[in-house]
Every structure is written in C-alpha cells, then in structure tokens.
C-alpha cells in the first residue's frame, strides 16, 4: 500500500496533495462557522490552518493502519482549491477505512463532492482493498446525509445525545458501505462485440 496515487483526475476536478501555498484557500472554508459546526473541530484561526495544512502536506500515502491520505480538491477550469477529502486507513486486518470531507459552501450543491467521493471510494475499494468504508456526520448536517444516501451508503448508526459539543447535546450519524455494495458490477467489463461468445 505504498502506492503514490496523487494527483488523479475526475471530470471536473484534480485531486492532489496539499502544498505550502494552500493555506489561504483552506482557511477560506475551514474557519467558517459551518465547518466548525460539522467538520474538524480545532481549526478555528488562520494559524491553526497553517498547522493543519502542514500536517496534510505529509499525508500523501497509506503505508500502515492509522495513516491518512489527504487530498485537495482543485477545480480543473480555474485551478481553485474548493475543498478536501481525507481517507484514513483505520484497521488493516478487518480492512476498515473512514472518509472525511469539507467543501467551501460557495461550491457546494454543484456535484463536486459526489464526483470527488466517488473517485475516492473507487480508490479505497480497488487500490487499497478496503472492506468497509465509513463516514460520520453531524445529525443536523442534512446535506451530508443526503449525499451519503445518494452515494449508496447505509445509515448504520444514529446516536442521540451521546456527547456534549459546544454546550449542546450532540447527534451523530454513521454511514457505511461494504466493498461488495459499492458498484457491485464494477468488476464485470463489457466485452467488445467481436469478443462476445453469443
């Protein structure tokens, strides 16, 4: 699992490793209240962002359980960094992984995350041989929940008031998908007409 896969492309995006110059772009979505509410919880000020980007710059391969692959979502058209997807390999023997994502609200609702996550799921299941992939989100993050269902993930858990977050009771959803549930027909290739038997 020491493959270096970045960058790779989807229709409209380039998924690449983070770079030193990304701090401002990352800060533009990371420090927003919405990201604080639902996203990674301790990146509030530009100085925190610089540190977070510093860490993400080193997360370029999955070599052992616990490792994270951090991908910047860059629009092909104008090269603008609009969000991020992180793939964490959490368990080797049971083939478990977790995906976290964040997008600038100005670019949400345009299918970018669907595109990026589909590509990352493909990568997880085919390149990294993940057996089960999970995503956590806040119970009030309706966009995330809808996106997960659109991608075919099952709602596995709905925790109610299981913790306190910023003085409020927290509600958390877990979505998951198994390798055989993700594009179950993906390994069946259409044969060209001249190779068909009948």
């Amino acid at each position: 699992m020491t493959l270096s896969l970045l960058p790779f492309e989807t229709d409209r995006l380039r998924l690449r490793a983070f770079e030193r110059g990304d701090v401002d772009a990352v800060a533009s979505y990371h420090t927003l209240p919405a990201s604080q509410r639902y996203g990674v919880r301790h990146v509030r000020y530009p100085s925190d962002v610089a540190e977070a980007v510093g860490i993400m710059r080193t997360q370029v391969a999955l070599q052992r359980p616990g490792d994270v692959l951090a991908m910047a979502l860059e629009r092909k058209g104008d090269g603008r960094l609009i969000g991020q997807v992180l793939l964490q390999w959490s368990d080797a023997t049971a083939g478990q992984a977790e995906v976290r994502f964040l997008i600038h609200p100005a670019f949400s609702g345009q299918g970018y995350l669907t595109e990026a996550l589909s590509a990352v799921f493909d990568l997880a299941f085919t390149q990294f041989r993940i057996h089960r992939l999970m995503v956590r989100c806040d119970g009030r993050s309706h966009h995330s929940a809808k996106l997960m269902q659109k991608l075919g993930l099952r709602l596995e858990a709905h925790y109610r008031e299981h913790a306190l977050f910023q003085g409020e009771w927290d509600e958390e959803l877990h979505f998951a998908i198994l390798d055989r549930e993700w594009r179950p027909n993906a390994k069946i290739f259409e044969l060209s007409p001249r190779n068909r038997v009948a």
Binding site: M134, R160, A163
Partner: protein, 193 residues
Amino acid sequence: MALYPAYPLMTSRLFLRPFTRGDVDAVHSYRGRDDVARYLYDAPLSRDECALAVQRRVSQTGFAEEGDRLVLAVETQADATVVGELSLIWRSAEARQGELGWIFHPDHQGRGYATEATSRLLDLAFHDLDLHRVYARCDARNMPSWRLMERLGMRREAHFREHGLFKGGWDEEFYYAILRREWGAMRQSTRHS
C-alpha cells in the same frame, strides 16, 4: 458525582449485590459454558479465571470517577441462587453517559429475571448516578440480548455490519440506547419489578 449504593439492591424477587469470594463456582457454572461465551469477548473461562474475575469484582461496587464500573451478582431471594451478573460502566462524567451489560445463566432464562434486574440497575443509573443516556451493545445474532433491550424500551441506535473481525468471522453489532426522559416515560407506563 461519586456513588456508593447501599447493598443489596432489591427487586420483588431478586437481590443485586457485590460479588464475594464464595461466588467462584456459581460464576464458573455459566461463564464456563460455550453457549454463554459465544457472543462475549472472552472465551469460556476456567475455574481459575473465574476466581480472578471474582477477585476483581469484589471491589467494583461503586463509582468514584469516570471509567469506574459496577459489577453485581444477581441472586434469587427465594433460594439464594446466583442467576447472572450485571455491569454498569460510567463512560462520561461531562455528558453523563453509561454502558450497561449483563450475562445470565441459560438455565434460569425465561422467568423475567434479566428484565427485573436490569430495570433496577437503570433506575440506579438515571436516578442515583444522574446519567443522561445509557447504552448497551450486543452481537446482532444474540437475539435474547437485544430482545431484552427492546423490552426495556431501549432504541436500536446502530447496526454495524462487518466493521471488525470477531472470533474468526465478520462482526455484526447492535447498539441500543435510552435517554433519561425515555426511561422515565417507560417507568410510568409499565411496572417491571
């Protein structure tokens, strides 16, 4: 909040009390069985292992800080038979969370002892320990366990599929939980003990 309950806790037919050294054979009579161990993390316990387990439990009788656990023997009042054990772990002081667990002797199942005993412990959890939410987990194939949780009014909060390996196969797990106000409503509408 620290809590050292006065023992025994009573229900109409049962005592819930701390373990004593004299309980080793009683514990071995169910923890030594394959059918009891199937869905537990431990393999069936030998008598020596039961003796160690009982020794540990002798002091697990109260809560001083987060992470502490209570493990109690469930004994019939009529003939002083140990029919199983209950545990309550104080998982979070800030969010007032606890985890409930139980193991009952198959020979004594079907008489409502488990429901009666766990109800008493939920009363303690919400009333005396002032918890906000109590959860419990079980293997999805362990129907008696999750049926008990449903009788107690717990909601199925999670159904994890193949999220880990357990005893040589893929694990499938249920999480059930109940909030303090839900238990209060449950208590008003039914009488368990």
